[in-house]
């Protein structure tokens, strides 16, 4: 459809003619005698791939493997229970991004707790949570912070502001995780054989492209930091194929309009001011990974929800039949988990992968899995 006013930075990257040409280039470059396994690390890429039907535009010998880049999915259920135990206290307002609201804890999701009377509210940024704290001096506002390095800076800046303004009825329950240890865990895993990486786009706006250099240099895998529009993803595949064809392995930046090679210095500085690296953190399905998550440092102890409130801290293992971990690592496709579509659906999820906007299972369930019933697709 011809739009009256093309949307900048979106429509240019959705032009059918360019997409068709890039798709042809991919077919030309891909060696028919070879099976390529490319991992898209970021859940946002998984969603984009299925939402835009991009898999249909790739030849069958390019397999896309879904990575663990979903910060909600990798949280063990125990952390959600801990956060919700604080929500249950008198006078507490529990705030989080909308993405958290349907994630199951042992006693239900935040939305279910809300329906039972807990004061749980969606915010679009931690600054909104701080605003709530200012507006409600007799209540305590807790922000359940999630995300990779993408969202950590805004949490940091909000805490710096809380401190500067002396706002005491505010705290952060910090679940920020870092992407590099997760990628290391994937590469160290014996069941994995990945040829190349479609690199996370938005994390890279903060950390830049340098942190991925070890993947190219020491592991010998090409990595292209990619945008999220159809043309971005397809162009990244072209760039990866070219590297693989030449036997090269280097870091390239396809998302140059947004990602600076050196990252965002101000954002990184704010993170250093507020956070410290936890010595270890448990990731769903991947066990304990050292130095993979952030906590508030001593200067911000007063705003650290885990220090202000005592939480159960109980480790909750996933139901035995659930294969969230394998799907997160890319070992299994969502549809290969025994619970997919039966016991585990977006309406009644067993794990976060089925409800998060970056979860592989959610993407598959929403956009893809019923396509297999098609006998033939239109020309």
């Amino acid at each position: 459809m011809k739009y009256a006013v093309p949307m900048k930075y979106i429509d240019e990257f959705r032009q059918p003619e360019l997409i068709a040409r890039t798709s042809e280039e991919i077919r030309r470059l891909a060696d028919t005698g070879r099976h390529y396994r490319m991992m898209e690390v970021c859940g946002g890429h998984t969603h984009a791939i299925y939402r835009f039907g991009l898999k249909d535009l790739l030849p069958p010998n390019i397999e896309l493997v879904h990575g663990p880049g979903c910060p909600v999915c990798v949280l063990p259920m125990g952390r959600i229970d801990d956060g919700l135990s604080i929500a249950a206290r008198d006078g507490v307002i529990f705030t989080a991004f909308g993405d958290m609201m349907r994630v199951p804890g042992t006693l239900g999701s935040p939305l279910e707790h809300k329906a039972r009377g807990a004061d749980i509210r969606i915010v679009y940024s931690p600054a909104d949570a701080l605003k709530l704290a200012r507006a409600n001096p007799d209540r305590h506002v807790m922000f359940f912070a999630i995300g990779f390095e993408t969202t950590a800076p805004s949490t940091a800046l909000t805490l710096m502001r809380a401190r500067a303004e002396g706002i005491r009825n505010f705290s952060v329950f910090c679940n920020h995780v870092t992407i590099i240890p997760a990628m290391r865990a994937i590469l160290d895993s014996p069941d994995m054989r990945i040829d190349a990486f479609i690199g996370p786009g938005h994390v890279s706006t903060v950390i830049g492209c340098r942190p991925y250099e070890w993947i190219a240099r020491h592991e010998g895998k090409p990595i292209v930091v990619s945008g999220f529009e159809p043309l971005d993803v397809l162009q990244s595949v072209v760039m990866l194929l070219r590297q693989l064809q030449q036997g090269e392995a280097k870091v390239e930046n396809q998302y140059r309009r947004v990602v600076p090679w050196d990252g965002n210095r101000a954002a990184l500085k704010a993170m250093q001011e507020v956070f410290t690296l936890r010595s270890y953190f448990e990731w769903r399905g991947m066990g304990f990974i050292s130095q993979s998550a952030l906590a508030l440092n001593e200067n911000y102890a007063e705003w650290d929800a885990e220090k202000r409130f005592s939480v159960p801290g109980i480790r909750v293992t996933d139901p035995k039949a659930a294969q969230c971990g394998e799907v997160l690592k890319g070992v299994l496709k969502p549809v290969q988990c025994k619970l997919f579509g039966n016991e585990c659906t977006p309406e009644r999820p067993v794990g976060a992968l089925m409800v998060s906007s970056e979860g592989a299972c959610a993407a598959y369930h929403q956009y893809e899995h019923r396509k297999s019933m098609l006998v033939s697709l239109p020309a």
């Binding site: 949307m7 535009l57 309406e347 369930h365």
Partner: protein, 346 residues
């Protein structure tokens, strides 16, 4: 050919916001709790209005409640929604609304001028839609027990001659039309809530669609298979219900679906799909292929119908599902709404 609907027993322990969103959860609640108890073992799929016989005369009857927040928004208010929503439910079931009865549940403390404004809006909307308000009821509850006001309208109407709509009459090859751009109402409400620092030149599309339905009936009644107004849950949910009810598949050509730039922009920013957003002044029609051109022409000639488009086709596969065709040759399933991204929308 009607596909057998699976027996869904409603097993949730408590009611959640999602059960009111118009998507999968709503359908489970209605099919799993209300229908078995109240409708017995009727094989008819649930529609927007019921057509019943009274002493040999066929009449259409429907009811709807309105809990929109905020009460007033660009393009309309709850009073108008309450009239147009019920007039439209009757229209897409193939009936012309004759009379409405309305009930108001008012919260103590509601300023009288707010109430008066809505009653006036309702009166104006009824006049514009050509429908009589025959009576009603009012209740007042304590402060905090009803968010300002809730309105319910029940409407009765006369079947429009020549229209015999049912999902079961659909056949592969049928064409799907929409009466205009989608997503205006839901996004207007979202922005009117003021929780987001977003502004747009947008207003609710609330209006009666009866005129367009009658134009369609006059032009193509023998080929008119099915109609629905895509309110909560959006076009995606309505088409999924159609696909399930007829046991066939729907191909939706994404680049033919009309969406205003402001709606598209807001949806891109917020990660919403326009296909899931509520509309209050549009409807979908499924028409036999030999009547499709005439149907589109009739709609486009009618005041308010100039943005009508053909957006899809009925196919054998994927049975009971909707497949979206992207502008670049890819496909993806278009699912019913899950969860509730925009509560209290209408």
């Amino acid at each position: 050919m009607v596909a057998a609907s699976p027996k869904i027993r409603f097993r949730d322990a408590q009611i959640e916001m999602a059960h009111g969103a118009g998507g999968k959860a709503s359908r489970r609640l209605i099919e799993g709790l209300f229908a078995p108890i109240l409708f017995g073992s009727s094989p008819e799929p649930l529609g927007d209005a019921a057509h019943i016989s009274l002493n040999g005369t066929r009449i259409a009857i429907t009811a709807d409640s309105f809990v929109v927040s905020p009460l007033s928004f660009p393009g309309g208010s709850i009073g108008e929604l309450a009239v147009n929503g019920t007039v439209n439910d009757l229209a897409v079931s193939g009936a012309r609304a004759e009379a409405l009865v309305v009930t108001y549940v008012l919260e103590a403390g509601l300023p009288t001028d707010v109430l008066e404004a809505e009653v006036r809006a309702m009166g104006r909307a009824a006049g514009a839609a050509g429908v009589k308000i025959a009576g009603g009821d009012t209740k007042v509850v304590e402060h905090g027990k009803a968010d300002r006001m809730y309105i319910t309208t029940a409407g009765v109407g006369r079947p429009i001659p020549g229209i015999h709509c049912s999902a079961g009459s659909a056949r592969p090859g049928d064409v799907i039309l929409v009466s205009g751009p989608i997503g205006d109402h839901g996004i207007t409400i979202l922005l009117a809530r003021g929780e987001l620092d977003l502004e747009a030149d947008l207003c609710s599309d609330t209006r009666p669609v009866l005129g367009m339905v009658e134009a369609l009936a006059a032009a193509v009644a023998p080929g008119l298979r099915w109609m629905r107004d895509p309110t909560r849950g959006g076009v995606a949910t309505a088409l999924n219900e159609f696909a399930r009810d007829c046991g066939l598949g729907v191909y939706l050509f994404e680049d033919r679906v009309p969406v205003r730039d402001a709606v598209r922009g807001a949806c891109e920013l917020l990660g919403l799909d326009p296909l899931h957003i509520a509309n209050e002044g549009q409807f979908l029609a499924v028409v036999a292929p030999e009547y499709a051109e005439a149907a589109l022409e009739a709609l486009q000639r009618t005041p308010g119908g100039h943005e009508s488009r053909m957006i899809g086709e009925v196919r054998e596969q994927p049975a009971c599902a909707v497949l979206g065709l992207t502008p670049y040759g890819g496909t993806r399933i278009v699912d019913m709404l899950v969860g509730d991204p925009l509560p209290r929308i209408c």
